[in-house]
Amino acid sequence: MSTMREILSESELNQDLHTRDLPLLRIGSFELRSRLILGSGRYSSFEVMREALHASGAECVTVAVRREKLHDSDGRNILDYIDTNRYILLPNTAGCYDADTAVRCARMGREILLRLNNPGAKWVKLEVLGDNRTLLPDPVETLRATERLVRDGFQVLCYTSDDPIIAKKLKTAGAVAVMPAGSPIGSGLGIANPHNLQLILELLKNDDSEFPVVVDAGIGTASDVTIAMELGADAVLLNSAVAKATYPVLMAQAMRAASESGFLARMSQRMGKSRYGSASSPEHGQIAKWLVNESEQ
């Protein structure tokens, strides 16, 4: 894995960095300042979604491709609440259970984004599920779809399980980012297997330290984001944790702080752990010795 010294100079590492000065997140041909990618589903209203997106500081927003509601009298469209000149949309293939459907879905998403003139037409968040209860991905179909979409010119961001071997295969197949689940979609269970996530990071960044690994799914609260970032994830993609919070806009703000916090902590290279205590205050010049073990007196 790359050290922060390779990304930032020694003097920069000793500065009080403003968010705008942090290294950019590079995924495929995209450069993002925010390391948080936010979903647009399950909010109580489009208005709340819009405010949450703003509070999160995210530049990239995921969207789903769904049948047009041809008989909806409401007439409101999510795009009236997402500024497509401000946000890069990331269309997903959510709800697909086989490679063929996922490829069709990706192509339709690209067509819509091309019509919107949004740069997100170049990429897709590939999600091929294997089970409708756990919503865990189908690794075989995901790999098949990745190969086809890469051939079709897509920059594929692959949602996958936290299995290191399939993660490696997806990278080899040409995915521009691999996005292991922290835990099942919408579960809020956080990073269920940090060890596997570390293995994925090691395996995928071993010969390519810049290769983006994004933790996608399972995030429940801000500390989950921080842990993912501290472990070495390049970004976190989340939706329900914000949308289903009692106060989504506040949680969006918390997620923004958490992603920056975790990233900064990783850059800082944390202290080592010890089984015993180590005083922060000087051990000499104490006015009393009564806390010291008797045997040492």
């Binding site: 589903g41 995921t62 969207v63 049948r67 047009e68 949309l89 959510a94 339709m108 019509r115 919107l116």
Partner: protein, 93 residues
């Protein structure tokens, strides 16, 4: 013949979809639009359909599993037995 005309009249009056996708005497036919039967006149193009449905430009159209890019909408004529998907963007993670 009379029965067919009455049947057609009743279906038209009561807005009942005919389960047959054959071209009817009035020059209309039925196809599947987003999984539901939909009736149009012969010669209807994808562009005509989208205009009729009053959907915005943020849509993609697929006929029988094949994406019809926007440039082809005006030239692509619908046929009976077509399975048409008109999709747009929705909230998602």
């Amino acid at each position: 013949m009379l029965c067919r005309a009455v049947d057609r009249h009743l279906k038209k009056t009561h807005n009942i979809m005919n389960s047959s996708n054959e071209i009817q005497g009035d020059g209309s036919f039925e196809f599947l639009l987003n999984g539901r039967p939909h009736r149009v006149n012969c010669g209807t193009t994808v562009a005509d359909l989208l205009k009729h449905l009053k959907v915005g430009s943020a849509v993609a159209v697929e006929i029988d599993g094949e994406l019809i890019v926007a440039d082809r909408h005006a030239f692509c004529t619908l046929r009976e037995s077509n399975k048409v998907e008109v999709v747009t963007l929705a909230g998602g993670g």
